[in-house]
Symmetry: C3
């Protein structure tokens, strides 16, 4: 867990990881997200919670859906959004990332959303941000993607009413997945009964995280599960020879109608997106009645609003 994300008063100063966050805090974040969703559905278009604050996204790895989700969330809370194109920035001219952030803070940016290919970058940058600035980790290497963990938890809670007694199967490249890591942190803290981690041997963690069970067979991992989370297969894994072929991967680990039928009858199917149809998920189930993939996307906006509101001290 990251010691710098909580202030000495216990308030959330940054959101770097879900590891170590107490159930009460996670629940409070999900409650806020639900409240924002209800306001939205009642027709409230914008709230002044972040008026006068300025969000800037620094995406060292490109990501449209996450960037847009944060941007829409920030606007709904009346924040300004600054567009920052890493590819055209001074970091290209040799400026250090720290200096770039210090400059943006001096310009008035005070909410930083950072995605970076290297684990630990979010914490590293947050440490040196000036007082009054907050940083949200939008994915750092294989380390964490905390807002994804929260939006997955929110989607599960909405559909299942709670976490007690739930069996969750996560299928795919567990070893390299920041999504899996953040899901595990959130779901264990929130009290699911069992998490099963499933994937090709080379993509399983060397040591199963406490509270999780490694299950090499996808059929057995999915059997009786209440929640099935398919992970995106990165093309890099294929290129690195860690996965034989898309066809074999789909046969052994892809979620299709036959495999999903092994889960609990009312199981929900999740995926962080973007999906590779016919690789880790079949179209018949991605577009089927058990899929909550677009619900996850929708919840992402409300979860990010909740995180920003908590960071701003509003509850």
């Amino acid at each position: 867990m990251s010691s710098i994300q909580l202030g000495s008063d216990g308030a959330l100063r940054h959101l770097l990881t879900l590891e170590g966050l107490a159930r009460e805090r996670l629940t409070a974040l999900l409650d806020t997200a639900d409240a924002f969703r209800e306001s939205h559905e009642r027709g409230v278009k914008a709230m002044p919670i972040l008026r006068g604050r300025t969000l800037v996204g620094l995406f060292f790895e490109p990501s449209t859906r996450t960037r847009v989700s944060f941007e829409i969330a920030a606007r709904k809370l009346s924040a300004d959004v600054v567009h920052f194109d890493i590819a055209q920035s001074s970091t290209r001219k040799g400026e250090s990332v720290h200096d770039t952030l210090a400059t943006l803070a001096a310009l008035g940016c005070d909410l930083f959303v950072v995605r970076h290919q290297t684990a630990g970058t979010a914490a590293h940058l947050a440490e040196r941000l000036p007082e009054g600035c907050a940083l949200i980790n939008a994915g750092d290497g294989e380390h964490a993607h905390p807002t994804q963990g929260l939006l997955d938890a929110l989607t599960i809670r909405q559909r299942k009413g709670g976490f007690a007694g739930l069996k969750v199967a996560i299928v795919g490249d567990i070893r390299h997945s920041r999504v899996a890591r953040s899901d595990v942190h959130a779901l264990l803290a929130l009290g699911v009964e069992e998490i099963r981690l499933c994937g090709p041997p080379q993509l399983l963690p060397e040591v199963a995280p406490a509270g999780c069970r490694v299950e090499p067979s996808a059929d057995r991992a999915v059997a009786g599960a209440d929640v099935v989370i398919a992970l995106r297969l990165q093309k890099e894994r294929m290129e690195a020879g860690l996965v034989p072929s898309e066809d074999e991967y789909f046969r052994d680990f892809g979620i299709d109608a036959r495999r999903l039928a092994l889960a609990a009858p009312d199981a929900i199917l999740m995926h962080p997106g973007p999906i590779n149809r016919g690789v880790e998920i079949a179209s018949e189930v991605a577009d089927g009645p058990q899929s909550v993939i677009l619900e996850q996307v929708r919840n992402g906006v409300f979860v990010r609003m909740a995180v920003m509101a908590h960071l701003a001290g509003a509850r």
Copy 2:
């Protein structure tokens, strides 16, 4: 005509093409555009018609002027605008365009402006958009560019008072031009007397559209015309050998002072931009008193506001 752009109640749900739109609807759109222009000129800076709605532009073919025009129009109606860079998006990671749109809709985007190199893409995407979302075709291959057709019609109506009795010459690459196609649909429905289509033999349509006359000689096409529309010559045509050289093209089809003098004395000169000076149009007339090229640009904003307002159900 596209059957999906009208709802069962006859309301405009998407704007995909002008083909098949009745004169009354076209006139209503132009009237709304005129009203927006008058409001603007009276100093009204913004109207709340699209408050809470979110526009996203998906430009698979880059276009600055059209993108900016839609963005300014959306802002004047108080919509939010999301920036979506196709080049950095998940469609590059293999996500289908349908999934990208479904994701953006789940994020809260509900007004899609799409430009794509393939004819039919706009309709194809509109068909699968969720309820409550509208799509505006900002150009699909050689098929249609309906807002250009409307802004051209608006410009003509402002300058000529109406359409009855007008002779219109369109000069250039008729065969591949979505601008020409949308102009023809708009102007015939609005009741011009005659449309003359002129260009090199290889760039003329194989069959003249009903109501149009093909005229291989630019001098004869322009003679007596009330409106002369020069089309942009795409460099691809030259490279494909469909046009001999810029010089020859200019001599045979370029609009210069001599050729424009063959038109009616009060003829107006139009061009969809960006212009190739010295290729399809001479600077002396592009910047001359008969040119309404910048009026077209100005009207583009008001026409796009009108289309969005009609799509939103406001009239």
Copy 3:
């Protein structure tokens, strides 16, 4: 000096250069910037001074910090900001820059911020802008960077209380620096006692500007100075063989603790950013108590607000 930046009534119509601007006008701009800074610090988030105006940035040379600074400044004054990506624009399709600007003006843009690699471009473009549009030079080749000159002057005034009696050392590539040029224009007009220009022989001006003293030794330039301005060393100078090596440059012209200690005890250290640590400036002083580098960044926003407000006729 540029004759077109002042209207016949003496009002500021564009900001192209500081050369020739009277001390009274510079002082008025700094006063407005100070007032905006105070409002901001009292918690005023936005002012309606530019409501209904639309700023567009045309950065032919990429620059994130300057672009963001203008954008934040414009938003604080309630202007709309249009994103214009030169790399994807029609100027790439062969459209002239004049036609691009005329098109943007027809679309409703009326505040143009232009950075270009060629000296004189800003004035050249401003000349042909339609009535009601204003242009701010954000750097044109080696010619001028007037908002940088103003923000440097503001930072000095805030720290030193005024300009009389001040000794200023500017160290680096004086010959090619638009920052140095604009600083000299501002500081001489505002009444500093002495400006010393220092750099490698090939990077010094052939003729020292009136009121400046060329000083080849960095130690002597810095000795007793109240203000030390280190300029960024462009990699191009190194590649062109105008500078031997980073190490030699740092030894001879870099500002480190030893060299800064030669200045007045309360001297301030400035740099336009982004900084090359260990090339023109040592980390120990860049991050030290005499450094006002982030103050410069902060003041940039307020100075740009002041320039826009003056251009809009508000004082």
